[in-house]
């Protein structure tokens, strides 16, 4: 008696398990396809080639930057600064929301026009919402004697370039 009643029960159970298995298999495949689609979109939307200017900028001869001068190059958004300790280069992009800052000689400050952040000549934040100082950029002298700046490489502060 027990065996006869148990046999159909296990059969029914296994039939349900098979259905459950295929449901899970189907949903699982859809999930994998969905993740693949997302990855596909992510890759498609990330350009592999960018037509953006090179991060390396040739700023010309060091003699063009007299002692005590702060020069903003608006095209590359960098400052070239020459003080007694040497030359250095600062990014002119405000660390708050990416506006281009400007040198205010009358205040001896770098000022951002968007939200009022102010930085010292060495990039230290003096006022405003900027969360970080202006980054120092890698600066060197090329074989031709030109001042070169790599905008994609930041260096620790107060590393002056002596010519």
């Amino acid at each position: 008696m027990t065996t006869t009643t148990q046999a159909p029960l296990t059969q029914e159970g296994s039939a349900l398990d098979r259905r459950e298995f295929f449901t899970k298999l189907g949903l699982g495949s859809l999930g994998v396809a969905a993740v693949g689609t997302l990855a596909f979109y992510y890759q498609f939307l990330s350009p592999n080639v960018l037509f953006e200017p090179s991060p390396i900028v040739n700023s010309g001869k060091p003699e063009n930057y007299p002692l005590g001068s702060v020069t903003l190059d608006v095209n590359s958004a960098i400052y070239l600064i020459h003080i007694a300790e040497g030359y250095f280069s600062l990014s002119a992009i405000c660390t708050h929301l990416g506006c281009m800052t400007a040198w205010k000689p009358e205040e001896n400050m770098i000022a951002c026009p968007c939200h009022g952040s102010r930085f010292s000549e060495e990039g230290q934040k003096m006022a405003g919402p900027a969360p970080k100082p202006l980054p120092w950029l890698k600066t060197w002298i090329s074989d031709d004697g030109d001042l070169m700046v790599d905008r994609s490489v930041t260096i620790p502060q107060l590393q002056f370039l002596r010519v």
Binding site: L45, P47, E52, L97, G98, C99
Partner: protein
């Protein structure tokens, strides 16, 4: 029998072509009127019957309808502006200037587009304030409030993406600042920034992406959510009028037959 406009339309409505398109048939019965709404793909989103009180200016100030109106103005003027605007770095700014100084009625269309955009943002906010202070967001209308919040976000994104298209200094720096805000998202902020702009700076890719978002993706999203929004009004018991809600004292005292108006 003299051919008046009325008899002309009656004849027209009996033609085979007309009957094949409008299958509800002619007549003034309640059934015919209901079918006219129900069997029309656009009108079937709306209820076949509403209370008169719901259609009065005082109950809604028509703010939702006005928001839809500005959206339709924006679609029409936007499509026309697209015929003269190239979303490319060398051309975008001069195309917008041409629209202003060279193209016939270009100045009018662009200003209409711009002012309607401002009006749509204002009206969407006003509509939401109205719904909020009236308490019309409460059950069973909570989901339609959520749909409304999505529509508000789509409206703001449409406004923001359209801001870049003139490609002037204001546009450039506004989008620089705005997209930099997305960099503040933890962990994936820089990736979002890169995907939004299609690069590291606001450039040709960013202009094209914002153009496609502004002209295709966001308007389509808005239309889908608008359809759900209108359909849900019917499903959630019509426009909210406090007096006609079940359970309120005034709703119980008034005979409901006088409150109905056929649409």
């Amino acid at each position: 029998m003299p051919t008046t406009t009325e008899t002309y339309f009656e004849k027209l409505e009996r033609t085979r072509v007309w009957r094949s398109i409008f299958r509800s048939g002619t007549g003034n019965s309640t059934l015919h009127n209901a079918l006219a709404i129900q069997q029309n793909v656009f009108l079937h989103l709306f209820p076949t019957k509403v209370r008169k009180r719901m259609l009065s200016l005082g109950s809604t100030w028509y703010l939702g309808t006005l928001t839809l109106g500005t959206f339709l103005v924006l679609v029409v003027t936007g499509i026309l502006l697209m015929l003269y605007y190239h979303p490319s770095v060398p051309q975008a700014y001069s195309d917008v200037k041409d629209l202003r100084f060279v193209v016939s009625s270009g100045l009018f269309l662009r200003n209409l587009h711009r002012w309607s955009a401002h009006a749509m943002v204002f009206l969407a906010f006003a509509h939401m304030f109205r719904v909020f202070y009236r308490g019309a967001y409460r059950a069973p209308r909570e989901f339609n409030w959520v749909v409304g919040v999505v529509l508000l976000l789509v409206t703001l994104l449409l406004s923001y993406t359209g801001y870049l298209l003139p490609w002037d200094q204001l546009a450039y720096w506004a989008i620089t600042v705005g997209t930099n805000i997305s960099s503040a998202v933890p962990l994936i902020g820089d990736k979002i920034h890169f995907l939004l702009l299609g690069g590291n700076q606001v450039n040709a890719n960013a202009l094209l992406r914002f153009y496609v978002l502004h002209c295709v993706i966001l308007p389509l999203t808005a239309v889908v959510f608008l359809a759900v929004h209108f359909w849900r009004i019917r499903k959630d018991g019509g426009l909210y009028v406090r007096e006609s809600e079940p359970g309120t004292a005034s709703a119980q005292s008034k005979p409901s037959s006088e409150e109905h108006k056929q649409l």
